[in-house]
Point group: C2
Chain length 316, copies 2
């Protein structure tokens, strides 16, 4: 199974298998110490939900690619561009692959590629911002669990409880219409049919409730999962910056190479934090909009169904 | 506490207390052996639900009066007209009251007031129709219990389970917005507010679910209660007719007074059965229409609330 990617700057489709993503991920992680490279969606389908799994993985990869292409550093790095643009020529692919694997500017050397602004950052301010971000990610991670539990439970209730309640009411209206059908006079027939139809309507609404979480709760749940993985990268990033800061604190010369290096690491870390927040706001806004639009369609669908049932009572 | 009644044929309001209804009910029951005079709603409020109780009794009395005024015999009988039209003159009231209590044409004598059609009914056909009605009322009574259990349970679930689920989701969205509020940058503020508002919205929708049964399930439940009482009158009515039929079967002369009497009783019984079906169809159609209209308004209210929440995500 391979995934077709068509970068907007080349408009030429390339095909990549999961193992290529996996290889790219490994390169990026070793290359960028203070950039969060989100985890790839899981590789292996487990058990019987294979179709759901494949669809979820595809959505996960789409989100992953969107994150990559909107990231100012990741999007432009050589290995990612090679991944995005190298055509079916096996030799060219291997060449680029070897070049990326031999790259020296990985890990700590990444910082050599960064030119910081002329005025160095106030390291106390950096410390407070990074500490604030550490609290933020911890709190966000905790609260994501709360939200995920609530919406998972809500989905479960809709698929079982809500469905069952609507269907029981629907069945009871049908039962009433069955009693009424013992009276076969002409003026009864319209009500009997309308009542039976109302019964069906409630059973259908029960089905609607059961199907709905796939459309509006599962996507939130998927995003929360993606963000849990994403958030898990930040403790290490924060540690890199903290380590640099600790060393600087022990060094009295303000203009030292250590200070300069810490300044670069801090610039990169704050830029990454900023990018995280921007994509977070973008992703959660889009997901909540999608959720509410789906909910609105859902309740409109129910309303239309009920209006249809109501009309049946006018037919004599 | 008295109830103001304004008959459409006099347009003059009279005031009657519950005890006057009770007195009228007793007169009607003793007077009409094959007419179902529905039970009055219960007199006494028990315990703490007094306000609900009074409102339910008022609705019950309105249904009772509608049933009376649409019944071709009950509506025109002297005692009911006295009840409907006698003004505040205490002497006139007592005079009519005494006259009604001394009425001779009660019980079996009621049949003396009926002129049957010239061609007597086919008694076998009558027997089959009455038997059919007996099955009908039995089945309707049984199925009313099923419906009442379902909608009572549905109301309970909406007031507790559904409400709780929506509120838990609402709270979890708030919790997420609280985590997000740790990031105080300008581009975050819009999402934070919109998320908090979505949380409130779900809590409000939970309240809507909890309130809704009062508007669309309780009225059905009330109607079902009224009909259970109404249906309970019919076994006695059917027995009167069956008793007459049994006597006739033992009597060989087709033109006997016994045959004539049985014909009259059968005419009256069939007319009453017919009237029951007509009012049943009218009452259940109206109640189901009311129910569906209320449900439609309910889901439209939810949709509007969600649309309002969705709009908040456009404000940056």
């Amino acid at each position: 199974m391979s995934y077709g990617l068509t970068p907007s700057h080349t408009n030429v489709q390339v095909n990549r298998r999961y193992k290529h993503f996996d290889w790219l991920y490994a390169r990026l992680v070793e290359r960028f110490p203070v950039i969060s490279v989100p985890h790839l969606p899981e590789k292996q389908a487990t058990g019987r939900f294979e179709e759901d799994f494949i669809s979820k993985r595809r959505k996960g990869l789409i989100w992953w690619m969107n994150h990559m292409t909107s990231h100012p550093v990741l999007a432009h790095c050589h290995v990612f561009q090679h991944f995005l643009t190298c055509g079916p020529d096996e030799k060219a692919w291997k060449l680029g692959k070897r070049k990326a694997e031999r790259d020296d500017l990985v890990g700590a050397n990444f910082f050599l590629t960064i030119s910081p602004p002329e005025v160095p950052l106030d390291l106390q301010e950096v410390e407070s911002k990074v500490e604030g971000f550490r609290s933020f990610t911890k709190r966000m991670d905790e609260n994501i669990i709360v939200v995920n539990n609530s919406i998972t439970e809500f989905a479960r209730k809709q698929m079982t409880g809500f469905k069952k309640e609507y269907q029981k009411v629907g069945q009871s209206f049908r039962v009433l219409s069955q009693a009424f059908e013992l009276d076969q006079q002409a003026y009864s027939a319209g009500l009997n049919k309308a009542l039976a139809y109302t019964g069906e309507t409630y059973e259908t609404i029960g089905e609607y409730f059961a199907e709905q979480p796939r459309h509006d709760l599962d996507p939130i749940s998927d995003l929360l999962d993606i963000y849990r993985g994403h958030l898990a990268n930040f403790p290490d990033i924060v540690d890199v910056q903290k380590g640099a800061l600790t060393k600087v604190k022990d060094c009295p010369q303000e203009e030292s190479a250590l200070h300069q290096r810490c300044n670069i690491i801090s610039c990169a870390t704050l830029a990454e934090i900023q990018h995280f927040h921007r994509t977070r706001v973008r992703d959660f806004r889009a997901q909540m909009q999608h959720h509410l639009q789906q909910q609105i369609s859902f309740f409109q669908k129910i309303t239309a169904k009920l209006e249809d049932a109501l009309q049946r009572y006018d037919e004599q």
